[in-house]
Amino acid sequence: MTPENPNPLPSIIPEKDWKKIQRMLSKRSLWMVHFCTGCGAMEMPPTMTSRYDMERFGIIPMATPRQADLLLVTGYVAVKTLKRIVRVYEQMQDPKYVIAFGSCPINGGIYWDSYNTIKRLDKYIPVDMYIAGCMPRPEAIMDAFLKLMKDIDEGRADGWLRYKKYYEKYKANQRRVFKRWDE
């Protein structure tokens, strides 16, 4: 891993402004890949189509995690699915953000006592935005998007930094839940 050089053109654009521009750029063109686990996937079409149209904020659904910077986890996360979500998350490039839909990723929701769903997504991958509601409606999703864009702008949405900082802890938590993970 070559050392990360934050600012390519130090002479022309001062450091602070370059970070601001970068954040503005990634705010205005969030490309999302949605991991349709639970019931949230149904909420995505209304937000994309004419009634709510998230594309006006520059958010378009992409087919692969490589091209995306926003991961939507839309519903309960079973242990099996968590392994795939972590893999997709790691295939994305920095800076990457995660939005978790509904109450299941927050505290397990109606599956609070189920033996194979994880109760809190945050323990395994850094989540930047939770949307409460047992499947939030498109208005809530649009509101979440706007709020995330504001967080990105103010630099609070630093899930990917946290993942890098506490990488070992996240991995340990993940290994506690599922076994055969050979990178």
């Binding site: 521009i21 205005r28 490039q93």
Partner: protein
């Protein structure tokens, strides 16, 4: 001294035109998304959205790479498309097309496609392999009518170099008035060339996770977006140069700089019209399967192009019309 001077001027102008072309390409992609959104009765992103997207992609922090062949894709793609743009007269200004002709341009168009296919192949993702196979099959299908159209133009105007073609169109009437059938076939072929909706089989996001682009992200995808912007301008401008007189309205020899500016604007308007035709079709059509696309292209457009070729052949050889 003078030839060094005008070489430098020519180079400078070429660089300027290339940069403008890329910006026009990105602008067109933004417009396309806006127009498609409005057709889908929704607001749609701002026109400059693609500039932001490219900016975000190029500013991505981390970069995922497979192997050294994987880097071929962005390098060859962008270099190839800029090369194609350099050999294509834009807005009447001939750039380098004096030193190369249509067949050279045809083969230069292949460099980015082959480099891109190499990079996709090196990404070892089966989706990419299938995507490139579809792209090449699609190329074989739309090249048939397109080559017949080029042939009809070359036979009718008895030249293969674009500059003489533009001059001939400037002095007399546009090629579309003389060979309307070929123009129609060319436009259908263009839809395939630009991989617009009925024929965006190779980069189908639902079936093969956007085909060859599956493993390209961040910096790679940014370069490839510049490539696709450039290729939009190449294809539309090729159609305009071949059939719509390359947007030459004022004779540069007479009016000098003003002619170049006016011609550029006319040229911009013409490629915008051609682009809009493609986008309108793109907004409403579902996606063909690759066999359907192949069968379609080798049936109707080839027939039309053959008719155009026959017309050109009859007019130029039998009736002896010399332009």
């Amino acid at each position: 001294m003078t030839d060094w001077a005008n070489i430098l001027i020519n180079a400078g102008l070429t660089a300027l035109y290339l940069f403008l072309a890329i910006c026009v390409g990105l602008l067109f992609m933004g417009i396309a998304r806006k127009v498609t959104a409005r057709i889908h009765n929704r607001v749609g992103p701002p026109i400059y959205q693609n500039f932001l997207d490219v900016g975000k992609l190029l500013a991505k922090k981390s970069n995922i790479k497979h192997n050294w062949i994987f880097d071929f894709a962005p390098l060859f793609a962008l270099a190839g498309v800029l090369l194609a743009l350099a050999y294509l007269p834009m807005g009447g200004y001939r750039l380098l097309s004096g030193d190369g002709d249509l067949i050279l341009l045809l083969y230069i168009l292949v460099i980015p496609a082959l480099g891109f296919a190499l990079g996709a192949g090196a990404s070892a993702n089966p989706n990419a392999g299938v995507g490139v196979m579809r792209a090449l099959t699609l190329m074989l299908s739309y090249e048939m009518p397109f080559l017949l159209v080029l042939l009809s133009l070359m036979i009718y105007y008895n030249t293969a170099s674009l500059t003489t073609l533009l001059e001939k169109q400037m002095h007399s009437v546009w090629a579309i008035d003389v060979l309307p059938i070929s123009a129609l076939a060319a436009d259908i072929a263009l839809q395939g060339m630009m991989m617009e909706k009925p024929f965006d089989i190779p980069i189908a996001p639902h079936e093969i996770a956007s085909g060859p682009l599956v493993e390209f992200g961040g910096n790679y995808l940014g370069m490839l977006m510049l490539y696709s912007a450039g290729s939009i301008v190449v294809e539309t401008s090729l159609f305009v140069d071949l059939f719509l007189g390359g947007g030459i309205v004022l004779n540069p020899a007479v009016y000098g700089i003003l002619a170049y500016v006016v011609n550029y604007i006319v040229w911009f308007a013409l490629i915008f019209v051609v682009w809009m035709i493609a986008i309108f079709i793109n907004a409403v059509f579902p996606r063909f399967r690759i066999e359907q696309a192949f069968k379609f292209y080798w049936k109707w457009p080839t027939l039309i192009a053959a008719l155009g070729l026959a017309q050109a052949y009859i007019m130029s050889v039998i009736l002896g019309v010399s332009v």
